[in-house]
Amino acid sequence: MSQKEVTSKRHMGLKAANRVSNTAIYILLTIISIVWLLPFVFILLQSFRCETDRGMVGYILPKVWGFDNYIKLWNSDFRRWYINTFIIALVSAVLVTVIQLCMSYTLSRFRFKMRGPLMRFMLILGMFPGMLTMIILYRVLADLGLTQANAVPGLILVGFASSGMGYYVSKGFFDTIPKSLDEAARVDGTTRLQVLYKIILPLAKPIVIYTILTAFMGPWGDYVFAKYVAFGTSAGYNVAVGMYSWLSNDQIGNWYTTFCAGGVVVAIPVTILFLCLQKYYVEGVTGGAVKG
């Protein structure tokens, strides 16, 4: 290699190297996108499969297409489960948001004597596996008559009652709103309550939406406690518990494609909602991870 070539390589290298690495990245990203989306495409395709064999098969494209699975879904207990889950999600979204905002706003803004100990105490509480409390909560709910067929109010109650523990993300957000705004407002003549709804809440829109969104999405995937509380009574199931039962060894042959249809019906509204509010979710998640 002559001196000239070496020099020219040094000068041309940057662009060429960039082109190579960018191409590699495009290929990789395409593969990743395919791998990540494929299972969901499969679920969608399977939900339209209307052959006599409704179990698992070794091919992807249905041989007979149709809406049978959706019709079967509509006529099954799934309708009840869906309504159950939807009610839980809706009510939780409201209650959990209120509780978490109360908690996080207070811990971000007020400096009272018990604040430090309280936060440390909740940190320690959070280290106990939540599963541990299920046994007793189940018995307490059973005493109150809020299990099995009445699982919906029971799940809502338990879900929102201890949601104050999850204040971290929104507290992190509130911490980024300058405290001098509160102070200016208080000098201007507001009470603390007015500070909250006149100044802070209008500024906290992203985190309010984030909290509502996560609180709404949570119940759709809640499996273990819902199963515990419903305890074998189909009327009290949510979608996760109900659809899980379709995949047991003796059911799967009949219900596998219906499961896929159910999956589509559950995923679509949540995903659309999520994509619409994506911006706020990303803000919340990033902020929360950074602020801890």
Partner: protein, 373 residues
Amino acid sequence: MASVKLTNVKKIYDKNVVAVHDFNLEIHDKEFVVFVGPSGCGKSTTLRMIAGLEDISEGTVEIDGEVVNDLQPKDRGIAMVFQNYALYPHMTVYDNIAFSLRLQKMPEDVIYEKVTNAAEILGITEYLMRKPRALSGGQRQRVAIGRAMVRDSKVFLMDEPLSNLDAKLRNQMRSEIILLRQKLDTTFIYVTHDQTEAMTLADRIVIMKDGFIMQVGSPDEVFDMPDNLFVAEFIGAPKMNIIKTKLVCEGGKYYVTPFGAKIAVDGDKGKELANRKAPGGDILLGVRPEHIQLATAADHAIPCTLVVDEMMGSELHLHVDTEDGTRLIVRVPTLDLDKDQRKTLVAGAKLYITFEGKAMHLFNPETEKNLLT
């Protein structure tokens, strides 16, 4: 329209960190008082205690004769301008200024009157429809002041209002605050770390350090007669030169002997020393840079070497080293120098300097207190 009185005010954090020690001060009606000091000296904390944003650990704060310790900020009859302006980002400028008036349930046409009036004075009428984010720093500052103005408060508190502005804007806003003060004619308490702001704005300056008041006085007083070494060094730019030396008394006259020279303490200070029959001994001698003159190799002049020369325009700052290596700053008005003299003032040049006898400050080296107070 009110006096403010602080009696034995203390601020203690976490039981042992004391931010403000025993603060006593009476601020008269319509007075402009500036709290000044380095960061962490407790000046902002004191202001915030007056505002009610910070609990008062001990002592009492009175506004207009009423103890306000347990009152909420809104009930104290104060208005406040914050360092970072604290404008409500989701409201227009108009709404920002009108916020406190609406909370008082004032009729909208009165609010309109007041807001437009304030906007006019501050020259922000054309921005009333904008949100704070669309304003420059100086404009935001005006809105913050406007918001405080319309409250017709008894006391006007300002917490480092100019420190987020660039130098040019700061000078401009400073003179506007002076004008504002003439218009509002109320009591002002102003916090800053910048001694220039303090000197130019204040009727009285409160100089603080580590939670203690170091001196209270008019700008002239603190400049001409600093109580202690800290105030002497803090007020005035460039900083006062401090020299370790001795005070000697010969035949009723007092001399200082810096760097082997012998300089008489003249004027009132000399007389005062004689009146007090002050003993000689080790002292710290303070000389402001403008009170050092260039001299020739004549008697009592101190020889030194020029290290750095800074041309400031109207004046020249010379950093010089004496023979024992002490660094001094000399301030020479440019007018006093002719062209040839200026040319000789380059790094490495040998110079002779002398001090003005009546403008020297003498401090006790142990207590760092002024010998004459």
